[in-house]
């Protein structure tokens, strides 16, 4: 087990290095730089040139790259040229929001997806099965943007049950008050995202539950007189959960990555919104740090999935 983890983690190093090179090249290929937006006769071009030079943007790309790598290895990601804060501070402010959103989305996702699949599999061919199949076909097929906007319009603006933007009410006081407000702000986006993303869990689990009904280990259990309830939950369900567990790492990554899109729509100030605005303002320090973060997260997600699978399925460890 530990060998496997070590192997996967070591494999991450060259992957990460290659990724950083690509990230840096892509960021530098974009026209303009963080000082382009300051362009104004109110400012002397020589002052902007001075600031550019001080920021090291006049150096050859490889010099900038190795400086960035060196700093990143020491945990220094520099300051945002535009938002005038250390990138780590900015990410800290936004990461908290994105984690809250992702956490609630993940919880709701499994809370919706698993019972849905169980109910469907237990009632194969019946109305309830057809209902959840249809529901997942619709949520999979309809563009998420349409649903997001509809939900915002209905529950946000018309019924005014939930806030439509931001991460916290500025008037919230005290630790509990602030956290309750934060949770209140993520309920609408997280429930919506979760409800629209169940198709993966639903399909894997439902198929697994139906397939495993006729597997040898289920028939053996049944032949031994094990009660049906126990067969379902202890044998069938647990085995059917393997692909779900394997997919857990990727699911987390998908939710984080999807935040770029979701936060934009719900105007939720997390990492996604920060990423979006840093690209439009050519805020290199933030762009590269966030791309590195998302890339790192993808690799961690893959490793996590492998580890979870190895943990729950001994056959993987042995092979």
């Amino acid at each position: 087990m530990w060998k496997l983890i070590l192997k996967r983690v070591l494999l991450m190093i060259p992957q990460l290095l290659l990724m950083t090179l690509l990230i840096f090249a892509i960021a530098k290929l974009m026209p303009g730089d963080p000082f382009t937006g300051r362009f104004s006769p109110q400012l002397d071009l020589s002052e902007l040139a001075r600031l550019r030079k001080e920021a090291g943007l006049d150096d050859p790309w490889y010099v900038q790259y190795f400086r960035w790598i060196g700093n990143a290895l020491h945990g220094h990601f520099g300051d945002s040229y535009v938002l005038q804060k250390p990138v780590v501070t900015l990410m800290g402010e936004r990461l908290g929001n994105t984690i809250v959103l992702s956490l609630f989305t993940t919880v709701f996702l499994y809370l919706f997806g698993i019972p849905m699949a169980v109910a469907s599999a237990k009632n194969e061919g019946k109305f309830i099965d057809r209902f959840w199949l249809t529901f997942n076909s619709i949520t999979y097929g309809v563009p998420a943007l349409v649903i997001f906007l509809f939900v915002l319009f209905l529950f946000g603006y018309t019924l005014q049950w939930f806030p439509t933007s931001g991460s916290v009410n500025i008037d919230a006081e005290g630790f509990v008050g602030i956290w309750l407000s934060k949770i209140y702000h993520v309920i609408l986006p997280s429930v919506t995202i979760a409800a629209l993303s169940t198709v993966g869990i639903f399909t894997y689990l439902r198929t697994g539950l139906l397939d495993n009904r006729n597997q040898d280990f289920v028939r053996t259990a049944r032949a031994k007189g094990v009660p049906e309830k126990q067969i379902f939950w202890k044998h069938n369900f647990r085995n059917s959960m393997l692909p779900i567990a394997q997919n857990f790492g990727f699911q987390i990554v998908a939710i984080f990555s999807g935040s770029i899109f979701v936060e934009q729509i719900f105007n939720y100030p997390g990492m996604g919104l920060l990423y979006y605005s840093s690209i439009s303002t050519r805020d290199y320090a933030v762009i590269t740090a966030l791309m590195l973060f998302y890339g790192f997260l993808s690799l961690v997600g893959a490793v996590l999935s492998d580890i979870i699978l190895a943990w729950v399925d001994p056959r993987v460890r042995i092979s």
Binding site: G37, P41, Q42, Y157, Q160, S165, I170, S277
Partner: protein
């Protein structure tokens, strides 16, 4: 170098003018209650009685978070400036023409003979923690700008007109010799000594000196390299306006409470919350009555806002113009001068004029700007009523005139019956030009293609640069880097002006922002006249401005395109809201007439 800002594709990219007048701010209703701009009321006159200790929720429409930098020397974010307005009171009050007046927290005296500007600080002028505003606080702002260690980008040639500031900026002096504090650092007087006096020094935002203080005692212990990110300048600032910061949610919103030490009238409102709202959500939030007014609204939202019940749309002329530029030369980096030497048919003034007359700008504005833009006749917006030359005619669509001018210029039709295209009389080649058109709004490409069709109709083949629209960042790189590809003939520029409209920065022979590189002795004379010693006489300056505008029109080195109106939807429960210029107790007077 001081006064104008480029209008980028993204509003958030634009920096502020020194006077902070780019965006409309709420002002008193009393002075301009009946005034209208483009059919919109400048103020909203709510007859209902205000409730006591109300709470107001304002929104700024933007798809990017605000920076939240409170030190003016380090701030270059238009969004922040708007959100910080409730706590940023003007130190020196101005009238509706942006001229300094007496009666405010600081009295300004210009002495042309002594070549000084003196700031006298009222003894009751205090920071939001109750400490006195001192001469050192005003002097400190100069240090922040001129000392490179602080990382400010605001140091300019105009400021170098202050004695000793250039030496301080270059590290040759440890203090600024031209800033005198006769009563000491804690005194209430600052005398600024200049090398030469300028006519615009009686106008706010002139760029020759600074108008805002920074709390020296509060900030003095922060290391220069840390100042921009320190809590004292980002989340816990000391301010001077009628409100002070209660709480900031980074990038999202600011909550304000009354500033008990405010110099002027005590605020009617007990609390103000100013938030960012995304453009895609602004109208929906207005329908839900989430905010009391919306700043930063773009023209494409205007029709939708107009239909929202419970809101009045108010407006004000922008200090803005846009224009079509012709590429007539290059910027010589060795001499720092523009040279009008490019070999192009555009060197012929009649060709330039013809291209101006061939554009149907008024029709385009009618279709895409919802009545919030008008055809510009000059580069001085009508808000500068004393200086704007109304007798200059705009280049309005006139295909016949365009054809006549091209004929006169010698560019005959290749086939006069088919009227296919015109031919260059010197080379015999097709008259063709390259249009560096900027992307940005939904209508950008349609508008560019429309002009290309109109130019084609008069026989000029115009193609887009690299056959596509150019993004803002690429465009800026091309405009500011003389070594970049300069193979374009036509482009568009737009500027937000400061409150003194002198345009040396934009069109002088040495201006790096003179994108078209047009220079002439006459233009230099006309521009210099505006800021000359004689221009201390107002009538002379008015004449100089008008002569300059006439020359811009006749020489057609640029073709003015449009002037715009900023609009602000205001909730009907708001009282005393106005966009009028020259109001100084605007946020104090704001009130609401109901709780929701």
């Amino acid at each position: 170098m001081k006064k104008t800002t480029i209008k980028g594709a993204a509003g958030a990219l634009a920096a502020l003018s020194v006077a902070g007048l780019v965006l409309p701010v709420a002002t008193s209703v009393t002075a301009n209650a009946a005034a209208k701009v483009g059919g919109l009321d400048v103020a909203y006159n709510n007859p209902k009685k205000a409730i006591k200790n109300g709470t107001l929720k304002a929104a700024y429409i933007s798809d990017t978070p605000f920076v939240g930098q409170w030190v003016q020397a380090l701030s270059n974010d238009a969004t922040s400036s708007s959100l910080e307005a409730p706590a940023l009171g003007a130190s020196i009050w101005t009238d509706k023409n942006f001229k300094f007046i007496k009666g405010g927290p600081v009295t300004l005296t210009v002495d042309d003979d002594a070549k000084t500007v003196t700031l006298d600080i009222n003894k009751d002028y205090k920071w939001s923690d109750g400490s006195d505003v001192t001469a050192k606080d005003f002097e400190f702002e100069y240090e922040l700008i001129a000392n490179p260690a602080y990382g400010s980008d605001r140091y300019t040639d105009s400021l170098a007109n202050i004695e000793g500031l250039e030496e301080y900026h270059e590290g040759k002096a440890t203090s600024i010799s031209g800033l005198e504090m006769p009563d000491g650092e804690n005194g209430k007087k600052l005398v600024v000594h200049f090398k030469e006096m300028k006519p615009a020094m009686d106008t706010s935002g002139n760029g020759y000196f600074l108008e805002t203080p920074e709390p020296y005692q509060y900030l003095k212990d922060v290391k220069p390299e840390d100042l921009a990110k320190d809590a004292k300048t980002t989340t816990k600032p000391l301010t001077l306006g009628p409100f002070k910061v209660k709480k900031i949610v980074a990038g999202e919103s600011i909550s304000y409470e009354r500033n008990p030490y405010y110099f002027g009238k005590k605020a009617n409102l007990k609390q103000v919350t100013y938030s960012i709202v995304a453009p895609s959500k602004a109208v929906a939030s207005a329908k839900a009555k989430e905010y009391d007014f919306y700043n930063g609204a773009s023209n494409d939202l205007y029709d939708k806002f107009k239909k929202v019940s419970g809101y009045k749309i108010t407006g004000q002329q922008s200090l803005y113009f846009s224009a079509m530029y012709y590429n007539l030369g290059h910027y010589d980096t060795e001499t720092s001068m523009n040279v009008t030497d490019r070999k192009t048919p555009l060197q012929n003034v009649k060709v330039r004029q013809a291209l101006g007359y061939a554009r149907n700008v008024a029709q385009v504005l009618k279709k895409y700007d919802n009545g919030l833009a008008t055809l510009a006749n000059t580069t001085i917006p009508p808000v500068f009523s004393a200086y704007a030359n109304k007798s200059v005619k705009a280049y309005d669509y006139n295909e016949k005139k365009a054809n006549k001018l091209l004929d006169e210029a010698g560019y005959k039709w290749h086939d006069s019956k088919k009227k296919d295209y015109r031919v260059d009389p010197e080379t015999g080649k097709k008259l063709s030009l390259v249009y560096l058109a900027r992307s940005g709004t939904a209508a950008s490409q349609t508008t560019a293609q429309n002009y290309i069709q109109k130019w084609k109709a008069v026989g000029v083949k115009v193609t887009l640069y690299k056959n596509k629209m150019t993004d803002f960042n690429t465009w800026v790189s091309m405009m500011t880097d003389p070594t970049s590809d300069q193979n374009w003939d036509i482009t568009d520029g737009a500027w937000s002006l400061s409150s003194d409209p002198s345009q040396q920065d934009l069109f002088s022979a040495s201006a790096p922002y003179n994108f078209g590189h047009f220079t002439s002795e006459k233009l230099t004379t006309l521009l210099n006249n505006i800021d000359s010693d004689k221009a201390f006489s107002k009538s002379y300056r008015v004449k100089a401005f008008k002569a300059y505008q006439k020359y811009v029109h006749d020489s057609a080195f640029i073709i003015p395109t449009k002037f715009t109106i900023d609009y602000t939807p205001v909730n009907e429960r708001v009282k005393n809201f106005s966009n009028a210029f020259g109001q100084h107790e605007s946020w104090s007077k704001l009130a609401v007439t109901s709780k929701k």
